[in-house]
């Protein structure tokens, strides 16, 4: 574990309000998902998962073919495809295009891929204004923070945090009503949408047989960003491909259900090329940027390749006992939770955060909820083989994993640890190698160091609520 990773975990565990916020939000997502994938509501759920997995496997196994097909279809509809190897190449492309078009203002809809390449900072550095338009992302951009969760980026913010951010950044004082905060954002962003020269979006799916970009959202900001400006640029990882439009009958039934428990999100946009003759509105120019940024690196190993099946639903975060304790900002990169633990070291190279694959209890909850059936624990184990670590770490995590699978024992260990740290004779535990002196457990124990340990463990308190 790096020191940074460690200290952020530490802070998160010490913040009672934050702990509560993470637990409540992920808990609601979990419950909502369970309701809509239940046997009596969606009897074909397991079949859909198997189909989604088979489709993703087939597409990634023949990715070169689908990339070429996608490109020729986009071009057939009058759009352009731009291949980019890394963050700098994407920024270069956008900057050059903006210059050619005399563009100054860019509206953006939520995209983890553009977070991954720090696109906003790169564009701002060159004097462009790039505005995030998703309500949560807008707040985070004002606060200069990165997303806390891949689906609910501002999950950690309360209305009071938002009020403070609005006061500092927009000079609007004392607005603590969420509806009114949303109305303020709506009004400010409406002007931006109507004035923007370029709209940048991500993509949930790229449809090879149609040359189409599919975007799923609830607010309408992605529709605005892709409909109002004259130029639309979609930026997506090369792994987002699916073979046919008809395969959306499988994927759309899984995505929103797994993410937020909705049968469908409010808006699903299927966009193929610039506006056509006779169409009254829509962009004149349509670009799709296909980003590698480390993705091709994980094709070689067939067991790890499945990491690229991910449709970014966030269900594995909500299901993960570790994410639910340590939160999104404890993770070293934009992707957090179980999917972050497997993507980060692979996209960035193991040297970046070698401890990350250990930040999991291997309890299997992530694999159980994954709509495309990625065997996340298996990939984690594969990646652990890459990382330099000592046997104590492995032991500690095996114990931690066992504790996580056995909540009663976890609770007991908490109580034992809480009573131990206050007594003189067992101070060695905190400095002992391995077992309890590791990652979340060490931080967790440390929280019970000074001031004196609470009379009730978190779990006890939680149950009482």
């Amino acid at each position: 574990m790096s020191l940074e990773f460690d200290s952020k975990i530490h802070k998160t565990l010490a913040d009672a309000r934050l702990q509560q916020a993470i637990y409540t939000a992920t808990g609601r997502f979990k419950d909502a998902r369970l309701k809509v994938v239940a046997q009596d509501v969606l009897p074909e759920y397991q079949e859909l998962r198997a189909q989604a997995n088979a489709l993703k496997k087939h597409t990634i196994d023949h990715l070169d073919h689908y990339l070429e097909q996608f490109q020729s279809q986009v071009e057939a509809h009058g759009g352009k495809v731009v291949f980019c190897q890394d963050a700098a190449a994407v920024a270069d492309f956008v900057l050059t295009l903006a210059k050619e078009r005399g563009a100054r203002l860019i509206v953006k809809s939520k995209s983890m891929t553009t977070e991954e390449i720090d696109l906003n900072e790169r564009l701002e550095h060159h004097g462009l204004e790039a505005v995030e338009t998703d309500f949560g992302e807008y707040i985070l951009q004002l606060a200069r923070e990165r997303p806390y969760h891949i689906v609910a980026p501002a999950l950690h913010k309360t209305r009071y945090d938002v009020a403070e951010i609005f006061e500092q950044r927009l000079h609007i004082a004392n607005e603590t009503v969420i509806e009114k905060q949303a109305a303020i954002a709506r009004a400010a962003l409406r002007e931006k949408f109507l004035a923007a020269d370029i709209g940048i979006s991500g993509a949930n799916f790229l449809v090879a047989d149609s040359g189409a970009v599919v975007i799923v959202e609830n607010e309408g900001n992605a529709r605005l960003a892709t409909s109002a400006p004259r130029t639309h640029i979609a930026i997506a990882g090369i792994e987002k491909l699916i073979p046919r439009a008809q395969d959306l009958a499988t994927f759309l039934k899984l995505l929103a259900r797994s993410a937020t428990g909705q049968p469908l999100s409010v808006y699903t946009s299927f966009l193929s090329g610039p506006r056509r003759e006779g169409e009254i509105d829509g962009p004149d120019e349509f670009y799709v940027v296909l980003l590698d940024n480390g993705r091709t690196r994980l094709l070689e190993n067939p067991a790890r390749r499945q990491s690229l099946y991910c449709i970014r639903c966030g269900a594995c975060l909500n299901a993960c006992p570790v994410y639910r304790k340590i939160g999104g900002h404890s993770f070293p990169w934009v992707y957090s939770g179980p999917i972050g633990a497997i993507l980060t070291p692979q996209f960035m190279g193991a040297a970046h955060e070698p401890g990350l694959p250990f930040a999991s209890s291997l309890c299997g909850a992530c694999a159980e909820v994954c709509p495309v059936k990625i065997d996340i624990p298996k990939v984690l184990l594969e990646l652990r083989a890459d990382a330099p670590h000592n046997r104590w770490e492995s032991l500690a995590f095996r114990v931690f994993a066992w504790l996580m699978r056995h909540p009663r024992a976890y609770e007991l260990a908490g109580r034992v640890a809480a009573s131990l740290v206050s007594s003189e004779g067992v101070r060695w535990i905190r400095s002992a190698p391995g077992l309890l002196n590791f990652g979340p457990i060490r931080a967790w124990l440390a929280e019970r160091d000074l001031p004196p340990p609470p009379a009730h463990t978190f779990r006890e308190l939680w149950r009482r609520r």
Partner: protein, 212 residues
């Protein structure tokens, strides 16, 4: 070497494939169209839209649909799409309704100022309460997006059972339009404290009138 070539080459090297190598057929499409009778579909659509906090009403005749729209509008200003069905219902003749716009800039200004956007829809999906809108000379994108209220008038015959039927009727949406949008309920966000707020960017109010 261009970035395109580099990336394709890396992909092929990782997968152990060569350029132009054949590809087996993808797994068969999974589409199962449910047989649902007309009345059940209408009932399901109305119930789903209401459950999403939209409003859904049934009109026996086009003239009745027009009266419902008149009530929904009240004194508010509206922009209507060029869908022939709206004209058939007489909606485009209601007071305060602008229609027949074919210029992008004019449309954008009208939509930004209007209280209500009135459209038809190409299809609706019964099991999710969804409107399916294809961009065309008849339907612009911004009418169902910029005004704070969206009213859609559709004949009952356009209601499909769900996504599977949609992708059976329309296996390749890109062949007919640059933009197909599925609209399921009013615009919403729950980004802060998971408190639901409607109409954050798109319309916060939606009324669907099913005719027949």
């Amino acid at each position: 070497m261009t970035s395109r070539e580099t990336i394709l080459q890396r992909v092929r090297a990782g997968l152990g494939r060569s350029a132009g190598q054949t590809v087996p057929d993808p797994p068969a499409v999974r589409i199962q169209v449910a047989e649902v009778d007309k009345e059940t579909k209408i009932a399901s659509l109305l119930a789903r839209v209401e459950a999403l906090a939209g409003r859904a009403v049934r009109a026996a005749t086009p003239a009745e649909a027009c009266e419902i729209v008149r009530e929904v509008l009240g004194k508010r200003s509206a922009v209507a799409s060029n869908a022939p069905y709206l004209e058939e219902c007489g909606v485009t003749g209601l007071p305060g309704v602008r229609c027949g716009i074919t210029d992008r800039e004019e449309l954008r200004k009208a939509c930004a100022a209007a209280d209500v956007g009135i459209t038809s829809a190409d299809y609706a999906l019964a099991d999710t309460g969804t409107l399916v809108m294809l961009s065309s000379p008849h339907e612009a994108r911004l009418i169902s997006l910029l005004p704070p209220t969206h009213v859609a008038v559709i004949p009952a015959s356009r209601i499909l059972s769900g996504l599977d039927e949609l992708f059976t009727i329309l296996p390749e949406p890109a062949a007919v339009t640059s933009s197909m949008v599925l609209i399921t309920g009013p615009s919403r966000t729950a980004d802060i404290e998971q408190i639901l707020v409607r109409g954050v960017h798109g319309p916060g109010e939606i009324t669907i009138v099913v005719v027949g």
